[in-house]
């Protein structure tokens, strides 16, 4: 009996398309992933390293849940759905035959689909080099065991777990919807627990609690070297093995319980009606006789519409599975909102902009799934129950039925859209956060969330009324939606006019709300709503009531309907759609020029090929700027008139200038006459900009000087420029010129060829035919001090900040004027001018030398909860750094809040800036044992006033060792001095983590500090080594060395500028002879930090500190314990830097 049922099941499955579709989707996805190398790995690791293969297997087994749900769910439900139960029971089938035949006959396909992951991965390693997507040497050997082992140990047990789970659920509940809801819950639950696991240090919990073993795997390989990654199989042993055994046992137990509880009678007959209807009294009545009801002219249609809408809506909300899925999602959302973004385990205050941002990032796909599912239920309800044969002969016109369904779904969508606001406000009230920011809620809902969900509903609805089969419609809708999602999130293509429901990206910011992006986003939303309406209109045009209908008949119906109001409606909607689309196109591809990623890269490549030969031609330097800058926040415009003094500091005569306009609209004048220029480079037109001229001039211009500039000569040129933005763009634009907050370098063009604009990634360079880049090539010039005299005007409510001395401040009309000068010693470029509607808090700090210093904090009124903390760290820092390294030389100190569109921090002379979202403005540090990272972050940025603003290092690749490394070191010592050694632990841990990640992913090996070329060496290794040195030779000695270094090199205005070697010299002078060898090891050899035994970085938090020991290579290398399974350094990188920030291009 088993054999027959098993064989029948296999034959049945083989004839259904579903298994093939799943198999090939998984195969294609895996092959593509490995062929393209889209896997998480370090640069030194092979794309198909055993670790990557194992991790890929684990992740895919989570997503294969979909396949196991749909296959295992249908294995026995099929008999209920098709009503075969009526006679199936009459056959002499046995329970074991039926149960195991169906289970195994289906599971074999789940296992086969699972095998497609590794088969695809193997295929990908062949295809990648064959198509030239990845070089051959990115792949390691192709041993079979590398693919087979993870399949057998990771994929298969996980699939057995999910399969038994879904099979058991269906046989217990006799319902297929239970799979949707439990699948969703399992998925959400998994995400929540993964979140927990990220923050857990309990190895047992991390390893054992995860049915897919993904977290355990990550912990297992966290400390592995690239070599291990490439060559060691992730063996199932210890806790990993126990995990596999545990979850296989759970799966088998579940299956056994299902087996013992399973009975034919219960499964096929279902629950008996519990309540027998009470007998009702019987009175004979005659049907009243009504006259014929003429439905024309009455308000019948409207009444039917509201009636039907109500009923459809009731059908949706009475579905208990909706509430199960929803409550899962809502709990998940509440959880995310409640935890908030946290750094160092410290949550943020619950800010509205965070809620809206994370909602729009995380939830739309989940909501899409709910919407597509209930659209299917709603549209196909009558057909599914076969009530349609009655329903479709009832008098209401088709549009009434369709509109009722559509309306009920739109009401559902509106309810879903309101969820983040309701949960957000509850979280804020529960946490006692005072700033609800209702405007932010309202604007995010109306501009982004609601329109997106409306577009989602219209899309799903159109698909479902166009495709008669509910499951086919689900498949089509989900495939299209996932494709859109993948294309946009992997940045394959981003022309939003062609990506249904997508708009330019934007952030909800505290400083400016959605700001100027409201307009473009709303245009796109209107466009997509119209598109959705059109889809629905066309769908209903072809919609047939009654029986299933062939396309031919639908065409007949459509032709019948194509008249009167229908055709007028469709034509009007089409025209509106085209008009709005045309207007967007006009903005995006006519007023502005949209370029694909490839085109942008190609332009950079062209520029490099054509102009790189001018990289080293002599160019003058700016020495003084006299500028009038007018900022108009309302219209996001700025105009500049500047007199720029240029000096020839080279040894040759300069007769022409290579000017990099960087998108500015500008002219150069000499003695009042406009200088003519020529363009050295033209680009071909972008392929989407068909109405723009065939050639676009590049930003570079050649200006011929009236009289050549001899060595040592200087000249003055006038620059008139304006910054304005016609229309809007395909993506975020004007991110430095918001309505509230402008940040500008004065809008002056740059001088000379800019190596910083060259393509950096090796694979991209290869694609565009560029030679490999020398990793140690210098991309910047030496520092260049300039003096200036700047008058800024802005709107009356804004404050303008310039790194110089404020000579005068006045208002005239509704303009606010500031006159700043910078004479001595001058400021190292680049510098920036900043204006915003700030609140401010000013205090006076007495410096160690007795000088009073005005310290101002400029912030958004809503982000004022940590002002006192900032004030205290500024005070402590000024005091400690002045005492340790030399007095603070600038006339004031200003800390400002900057918007999310900018970098994490800004350091300019006398001015430091921290970003609004993760800069600590909203860290909720009210708890007792919280990590005061506000203090630390601010201390780092403040230290750059010494390392960077006073002492500008040379242009060597390693120079951030001075600006970044010394700043972090200084902050560590400040924290230690004022907060005690204990307070350092999380930051030291974090630095080690940052270093470890960088070291692991570094592509060209560890460098010594003298040649440090990567952020993890500058920002993590340097301070860790210095801190350790201080532990050993004493903080005072290290600080004294740094003080010497600073005093020797500060405020230089000519080469040579300080280099890392000079720093090393100073350190050597202050290190006793017997320790010099160890110092040398750390600075001159490329020994990774793991081999330099360091103190002060305990591997186990909470244990007593080990005694400081000398730095020496450890003969018995021991891997440092992973501090956390989190792969990325969490400290100084903002979560998300928008990809489209225009660099603050400044004069050089």
């Amino acid at each position: 009996m088993f054999k027959e049922i098993f064989a029948f099941e296999i034959r049945y499955r083989l004839r259904r398309p579903a298994v093939y579709i799943y198999f090939f989707l998984v195969l294609l996805f895996s092959a593509f992933t490995f062929a393209k190398g889209n896997v998480p790995m370090g640069e030194k690791e092979w794309i198909n390293s055993p670790v990557v293969l194992a991790q890929f297997s684990a992740i895919m087994s989570i997503f294969l849940m979909v396949a196991s749900a749909s296959i295992m769910g249908m294995a026995i439900y099929r008999d209920l759905e098709y009503g075969t139960k009526e006679y199936y029971l009459s056959y002499p089938i046995t329970k074991p035959g039926y149960f195991w035949g169906r289970f195994l006959g289906s599971f074999i396909f789940v296992a086969a689909i699972g095998a497609a992951t590794m088969l695809g991965a193997w295929l990908g390693t062949r295809l990648g080099p064959a198509f030239g997507w990845q070089p051959k040497d990115r792949y390691g050997n192709k041993q079979l065991i590398k693919y087979l082992y993870p399949y057998l140990t990771l994929t298969l047990p996980s699939l057995l777990f999910t399969s038994s789970f879904f099979f058991g659920l269906v046989s217990a509940f006799r319902n297929v919807k239970v799979i949707y809801s439990s699948g969703t819950l399992l998925f959400l639950g998994y995400m929540i627990s993964s979140f927990f696991l990220h923050n857990s240090h309990n190895q047992y919990v991390i390893y054992l609690s995860d049915p897919f073993s993904f977290n355990g795997l990550r912990a297992e390989v966290a400390a592995w070297s690239p070599d291990q990654h490439n060559h060691s199989l992730v063996r199932m042993q210890g806790l990993l093995l126990r995990n596999r055994i545990l979850w296989t046992a759970i799966a088998l137990t579940g299956l056994a319980i299902t087996w013992f509880r399973f009975s034919f009678e219960r499964f096929f007959s279902g629950r008996q009606q519990r309540r027998t209807a009470k007998p009702l009294e019987h009175t004979r009545t005659q049907p009243p006789h009504h006259p014929f009801i003429n439905l024309k002219g009455s308000r019948y249609n409207q009444k039917s519409l509201s009636n039907l809408t109500r009923i459809e809506l009731l059908n949706i909300v009475r579905d208990s599975y909706l509430w199960i899925i929803l409550s899962g999602g809502l709990i998940f959302m509440f959880f995310i909102f409640w935890m908030g973004p946290g750094r160092y385990g410290v949550p943020d205050y619950p800010r509205t902009s965070f809620f809206m941002g994370v909602f729009m990032e995380t939830f739309p796909f989940f909501l899409f799934l709910i919407i597509v599912f209930y659209t299917g239920e709603t549209v196909h309800r009558e057909k599914h129950t076969r009530y349609n044969l009655i329903n479709d002969t009832l008098p209401p016109p088709t549009w009434v039925f369709n509109t009722a369904k559509l309306l009920s779904l739109l009401i559902l969508a509106t309810g879903l859209a309101l969820a983040p606001t309701l949960i957000g406000i509850s979280v804020q009230l529960l946490k006692g956060y005072p700033y609800l920011n209702l405007t932010q809620y309202a604007s995010s809902e109306l501009v982004a969330i609601l329109p997106k969900l409306i577009a989602t509903v219209l899309f799903c609805y159109a698909i479902h009324i166009s495709i008669d089969n509910k499951f086919a419609a689900h498949g089509v809708a989900i495939t299209i939606w996932s494709t859109l999602f993948a294309v946009t999130s992997l940045n394959y293509f981003d022309y939003h006019l062609l990506l249904y429901s997508y708009t330019p990206q934007f952030w909800a910011t505290d400083i400016d709300g959605i700001g100027h992006m409201v307009r473009p986003v709303l245009w796109y939303q209107a466009y997509w709503t119209l598109a959705g309406l059109l889809l629905v209109l066309f769908g209903s045009l072809f919609y047939a009531r009654g029986t299933r209908t062939a396309l031919r008949e639908k065409t007949v119906l459509a032709r019948q309907r194509w008249r009167g109001r229908t055709s007028a409606g469709i034509i009007t909607t089409t025209l509106l759609f085209l008009t709005v689309g045309g207007y967007i196109y006009y903005n995006v591809s006519y007023l502005n020029e949209y370029l694909t990623t490839w085109e942008k890269e190609e332009r950079a490549a062209l520029t490099e090929r054509q102009l790189r030969r001018f990289a080293d031609i002599p160019q003058p330097k700016t020495t003084h700027i006299s500028m009038q800058l007018d900022i108009y926040p309302d219209v996001q415009q700025e105009t500049t008139r500047a007199l720029v003094t240029l000096a020839n500091k080279t040894n040759s005569t300069i007769d022409s200038l290579l000017v990099d306009g960087d998108g500015l609209d500008f002219e150069v004048y000499s003695d009042g006459t406009k200088l003519p220029y020529t363009c050295p480079l033209y680009f071909p037109r972008g392929r989407f900009s068909i109405f723009r001229p065939g050639q676009e001039a590049s930003d570079y211009r050649w200006y011929k000087l009236d009289s050549p500039l001899r060595p040592g000569d200087s000249t003055r040129l006038e620059v008139r420029s304006s910054l304005s933005h016609p229309g809007f763009e395909n993506s975020l634009y004007n991110s430095n010129t918001l309505h509230n907050f402008q940040f500008t370098g004065g809008n002056l063009p740059g001088l000379g060829y800019d190596k910083g604009d060259e393509l950096g990634r090796a694979d991209v360079r290869r694609e565009h035919g560029l030679p490999k880049k020398d990793p140690n090539e210098l991309t910047h010039d030496n520092p260049n001090p300039i003096t200036f005299d700047i008058t800024v005007s802005t709107s009356s409510e804004e404050t303008a900040l310039v790194p110089g001395h404020l000579e005068k401040e006045w208002t005239a009309g509704n303009r606010h004027y500031y006159h700043y000068t910078q004479n001595a010693p001058g400021v190292y470029s680049p510098f920036g001018i900043l204006s915003a509607r700030y609140a401010s808090s000013t205090s006076t700090v007495t410096l160690p030398d007795g000088r009073p210093l005005e310290v101002g904090i400029f912030y958004q009124p809503m982000n004022n909860l940590n002002l006192a903390r900032f004030q205290s760290v500024l005070k402590d820092g000024l005091e400690y750094y002045s005492r340790s390294f030399g007095p603070y030389p600038f006339p004031r100190l200003t800390l400002m809040e900057t918007p999310v569109y900018g970098p994490f921090s800004i350091a300019m002379q006398g001015e430091i800036g921290l970003i609004e979202n993760i800069g600590g403005w909203n860290a909720d540090l009210r708890g007792n044992n919280t990590v005061d990272y506000d203090y630390y972050n601010t201390a780092v940025v403040l230290a750059e006033q010494w390392w960077g603003q006073q002492l500008a290092p040379n242009n060597a690749k390693s120079s951030p060792v001075i600006t970044k490394g010394l700043a972090v070191y200084s902050a560590l010592q400040l924290l230690r001095q004022y907060r005690g050694k204990e307070a350092l632990t999380p930051f030291l841990e974090d630095l080690r983590r940052q270093y470890g990640w960088g070291h692991r992913t570094d592509f060209d090996g560890e460098h010594d500090l003298l040649h440090a070329n990567r952020p993890h060496l500058w920002e993590a290794k340097t301070p860790l080594i210095l801190y350790n040195l201080a532990e050993y030779i004493g903080t005072d000695s290290v600080n004294a060395a740094l003080r010497d270094f600073l005093q020797q090199w500060k405020f230089r205005s000519n080469t040579p500028y300080a280099g890392v070697a000079d720093l090393y010299d100073c350190l050597k002078k202050h290190t006793p002879d017997i320790e010099l060898a160890d110092l040398k090891n750390a600075w001159e050899t490329s020994m990774p930090i793991a081999e330099l035994k360091l103190s002060g970085s305990p591997s186990k938090p909470g244990t007593s500190q080990p005694k400081p020991t000398t730095i020496q290579p450890n003969s018995n290398p021991q891997q440092p314990k992973p501090i956390s399974s989190q792969p990325k350094p969490a400290s100084t990188k903002p979560n998300s830097i928008p990809p489209t920030i225009r660099p603050h291009k400044l004069t050089t």
Binding site: H289, H290, I390, L394, T547
Partner: protein, 301 residues
């Protein structure tokens, strides 16, 4: 009132010819549709009930008194306002009571006043003998009860055109009678189209009927006339079972019947038959088989 079906044709995408040049004219009263399985009865009824599009042909519904002039194929909403339809197979929402569901139908059929609707719903449920089960969920109904509920919904709102597709399938004899009485009561104001496999029912109920086979109308007229036309032309004979092939070769057998081991055959012949054949009184079944046998093999043994 008059329903005119003119040269209606329909071929399904899988090649099955469901209707072929069907032309019929129906007026008030009951109209029976006879035909074997797959003859096109349901296709025809669904097409009239606006559920399906024909490939060609037209259907009109005219009533000079009430000034209707409906093209059934294009003015579907107009037809639906006059229509009561009971499909051969249909589903119900299992978690809703008979009464609420009927109320919903009544509302959609334009009965807006709730009192009126309530009375109507209860009276109809009473008529189909579901009154005492009115608050039970439809999902708990037996096949016969569901069928009766289907009848009730078809009668909501005084339809002028009633189409019932094998309405008595699954009903016990008492319920069947009750239903036929109900249909008969509907009076002369209404066109009732009824499809059935029980030929006798057509004889007793219908003033007009048609026989359809392979999508074609083979006969169209009044039952009595049809039977009359066969008078004197039907002969029957008892034969041994093993001789059936011999007889089949020699006579146009229209039906056979096996009773207690003996085989009775009926033969239609315009000439007098001897050879043991005895004349028999024709009935409507003879009419049915006579026509069907021209189109298909009706080898009943």
């Amino acid at each position: 009132m008059q329903l005119t079906i003119d040269r209606l044709s329909k071929t399904y995408p899988n090649g099955v010819r469901a209707l072929h040049n069907v032309s019929l004219t129906l007026s008030n009263g009951m109209f029976g549709l006879l035909g074997p399985n797959g003859a096109g009865k349901s296709s025809l009824m669904r097409t009239i009930a606006t559920l399906q599009e024909p490939d060609s042909g037209s259907i009109r519904l005219d009533d000079p008194d009430a000034d209707y002039n409906l093209d059934v194929l294009t003015n579907k909403t107009g037809v639906r306002q006059l229509l009561g339809y009971l499909p051969q197979e249909f589903g119900v929402y299992p978690r809703i009571s008979a009464r609420r569901m009927l109320d919903h139908v009544a509302r959609l059929k334009g009965i807006e006043r709730s009192n009126e609707r309530k009375d109507l719903v209860l009276a109809l449920l009473d008529k189909v003998n579901l009154y005492k089960d009115r608050d039970r969920k439809l999902g708990t109904f037996s096949g016969g009860m569901k069928q009766r509920w289907g009848i009730a919904q078809a009668l909501v709102g005084n339809p002028r055109l009633i189409i019932v597709d094998e309405p008595t399938a699954g009903l016990d004899p008492a319920e069947r009678n009750r239903f036929y009485n109900l249909l008969s009561q509907l009076g002369e104001q209404t066109i009732v189209i009824l499809s059935t496999h029980i030929v006798e029912d057509v004889n007793t109920l219908c003033s007009q009927f048609a026989i359809i086979c392979h999508g074609e109308v083979l006969y169209h007229g009044e039952p009595e006339n049809a039977v009359k036309s066969l008078e004197g032309k039907i002969y029957s004979k008892r034969i041994p079972q093993n001789e059936i092939e011999k007889y089949r070769a020699g006579y146009p057998i229209i039906s056979t019947q096996l009773k207690a081991g003996q085989l009775y055959i009926r033969v239609k012949s315009d000439e007098h038959l001897a050879n043991g054949f005895s004349p028999a009184a024709p009935d409507l079944e003879d009419v049915y088989f006579t026509h069907i046998s021209t189109k298909m093999d009706i080898n009943t043994i």
